[in-house]
Each structure stands twice: as C-alpha cells, then as structure tokens.
Symmetry: C2
Subunit: 250 residues, 2 copies
C-alpha cells in the first residue's frame, strides 16, 4: 500500500494545474487512458469526484442508472439479492475498473464500498453527449464490457461446476493475477473483503470459505497473514487446484 500512497501524494501536488484527470494516478489503466489531451479536457468537464466510506451504498439494484463510475482507490462489491435475503456478489471492482454499464437505464445490481473508496462519477447524460464527439470512448467502453463478459463466464463455470476448494483457489488466483497485471507481482495478495463477501461471491457459506482457507493453509499452499494479506507459497499447486487437480503433486 505504501507505494500507492506515495503516488497519490505526488499527484496532489500538481492538482491545481487544472483538470483533476491530468494528475490521476490510475488514468493509464482506466477507460480514460485511451484519450488524448483534448478529449481528456472534455471528459474533465463532466466528472465529479467523491469519497465513499466503508459500507456506503453507491447505488442500489433497480435505481435509475444516472451515472457511470471509475474506481480510483479502494474496492466496490456488486451484489444482487433474492426476496428472502440470499445474496450473490457478482463482482468486485478495483482501481482502474469501470462501474455502472447498465441496460434499460436501470442498475442490475447494487454497489457498495468494501473499504474507503475514491470514485470518479460521470453523469450518463454527459457521457452520451461526449460519446458522440469521442468515438474512441465508446470503443473503450465496449472493450471494458467484453472484458467483464469474459470474467462473468469464468464465474459461471466456477459457480456451476467447481468444488468449494476449487472456488477458493480460483478466487485467490484471480486476485493474484490482477495484482500482477497491475504491476504488483508479489506473492502477497491483498484480500480486502470479508469472508461473508467472499462466500457470497463464490456461492458458499462463510464457514465453508473459512474451512477451505484452512485446508489450503494446512497443505502449505498459502499462508494467512494479518490485515487481510495472503501469501501464496505454491502458485503451481494453487493453479492445479483451481482447475480440478486434487492437490497431490508432491
């Protein structure tokens, strides 16, 4: 986390030069990354920044979809509810990810802050206007949506066909993969969400998630550190488990 905080501090020093986007630390990985200086200035005119404390609801399933968001810092969980309270977390949104692509102008899920989160908010109206003058923007949004679709299909495979152990292993691998792609190729993976959130994401109960973690720990495949950190001791073993290997390689 220390490295990221430094980047933020440096950005703040330049913040009064004009557009907030010009100094955004996650711009290069977000949707905004594909825009040139002029386009970025246009985008800046409609963006509003905001902070969400842990637990804050950004929007709820069924709300009119009035905004798009880009996560700058923190993490968001997306979830759907059944009438009797059963919950499915459909995804986690991390810095650089887009949030709020909706159809029918209605959000299909709720979004809540897993931890203190910093967001860029783009009014849908303004975006629609902007899209007409910046074709690149829609292209990038389509890419983002295609990405999410691939992730959703992987998750369907996980929910429909994987065992509890395989689900937890896949989840840790996905977090590690993401961290690696975002330039933190560390064996230490940050797991900021609660066991309940993980359970609702993986279609399990907290007890089963906890037991699965314990089994991975006992098998010397991971180590549970304080502050929601997990050290991956045997990446290959974890990969095998995630796709149906029985974990008996050595």
């Amino acid at each position: 986390m220390a490295r990221l905080e430094f980047a933020v501090a440096r950005s703040v020093a330049f913040a009064n030069l004009g557009s907030p986007c010009a100094t955004c630390e996650i711009r290069k990985i977000g949707v905004c990354g594909s825009l040139d200086a002029d386009e970025l200035r246009e985008l800046c005119q409609i963006v509003k920044e905001s902070d969400c404390p842990e637990g804050r609801i950004v929007f709820s399933e069924g709300d009119a979809a009035e905004n798009l968001y880009n996560v700058v810092r923190g993490a968001i969980r997306l979830s759907k509810l059944l009438p009797d309270g059963r919950r499915q977390v459909t995804g986690f949104v991390f810095p650089g990810d887009f949030l709020g692509i909706a159809f029918n102008d209605i959000y299909a899920y709720s979004a809540e802050a897993v931890s203190a989160t910093h967001l860029c908010r783009f009014p849908r109206r303004g975006m629609e206007r902007l899209v007409k003058s910046i074709p690149n923007l829609e292209h990038r949004l389509l890419g983002e949506a295609a990405n999410e679709l691939v992730a959703a299909q992987d998750q369907m495979l996980l929910l429909g066909r994987k065992t509890a152990k395989e689900r937890v292993a896949s989840f840790l691998l996905a977090l590690a993969d993401r961290a690696r792609r975002r330039g933190r190729p560390d064996a230490q993976v940050a797991v900021p969400m609660s066991r309940t959130d993980i359970a609702d994401y993986l279609g399990l109960t907290t007890e089963t998630v906890s037991r699965s973690f314990t089994k991975l720990k006992t098998a010397k495949i991971i180590r549970l550190e304080p502050h929601g950190l997990v050290t991956i001791l045997d990446l290959e073993g974890l990969s095998d488990l995630a796709q149906g290997g029985d974990g008996t390689d050595d």
Copy 2:
C-alpha cells in the same frame, strides 16, 4: 414453428433483389436493425451466410476470434470445459442474438448448434473497418454486450444461490419471457435443448433437472408436451418459485 417457416419462404422470394439482409426476417430485432439502407448495404458486403446441422461446432474455446455471428434460425449453446470434462453452458443464443463478442481476440467459450441453425457470419476485420464509418454499429454492439452482462449476472445469482427447483423455474420463465418479447406470447414454450444441456446450464445433473420438471408437473405448474414443448399452467406460481417462494399459494 409453422408461422416462422412461412416468413422464411416469403423472404426467399425476394432474395434476388440484391442484398440478403434486405429480406432478413430477423433484421429488426438484431444488431442490424438500427442501420439505415446505406449502412445495411455496407454490412451486406462483408456478410457470409451459413448453415449448421445439429451438433456442429461453430468455434471452440481458445480459437482465434475471427468472426462475429448473428443467429437467424435455430439455437446455439455456449460452453466452457474444465480439464476433467466438467462442462458449464454459459448461455443459449437464439434468433436475433449476437454471438462472438470476444476480448483478446480469443473466444472465451465454445459455440455449438443445439439444432439446425442458420447464421450470418461477419469477419472481424471487416467489422472493425465498418465500425469506423458506422458509429451506430458500435453503439448497438455495446448495447448488446450490456444486455448480455445483465443476463450473466442473473445467471450468477441463479448458480450461486438458488435451489434446483428455483433454477428450473427461472430457466422456464426466462424462455417464456424471451418468447413473449419476440412476439410469441404463448403459454407453450419451446425447449429445444436436451436435459443434459439444461443441467450444464443450471449447474445441476440431468437427473436433478428431470426430477425438478416432474415436481413442477405434479404441482400442476407446467405440463410436458411432446417435441420439447412445455405448457405453463400457472405463470404466477412459476414466478414465485423462481425467486424463492415455496410454492404453497393454493
């Protein structure tokens, strides 16, 4: 089915007037529906039509994503496999639906014909060129992708949190809803796919799917007809069941 066949026959009579798209019976509901005459002519220049017999593989998970498709008649199933053979069907594609939106230029799933299917094939290269001159096209593709995302999230809720009975009820409702939106507001729903396909779609076994159908039948909520037709006798009861009601309303 008879009504549809008639429409096809009529289309064929006009087919030699020029572009095949001009007489396409599903154009108004597909991605092509939002194009004007000029744009349609451009699209026609890159489209290739093709027929797939039942069981034919259109493309496989991991293949280079060289084409986009539009289903004209029939049905396609999308599926992913685990190394040990466990299968998850991630979706069914029906007439008017788009197929093949991929990221990384690699298909994330396999596509196979559930029944004899007629497809329009668009080379990706050509589409990319076309998208530059027809911004509308990308807009429509984004809409399609957003739609698929919403469906994927519903499916995650189903796979992660619903019981077997709820899953089968939800599945039938989704088929009925689709038929209604496509102008066949009938209590008779066509279920063209096998129990195995349904099971792999719902994260169950064929036996459990079959038992669930039987229970719905015994509860007088549906009636199983020959040729893969299902009559919905109690739509309200089915809706209740799909979302967690216990089915004890009368």
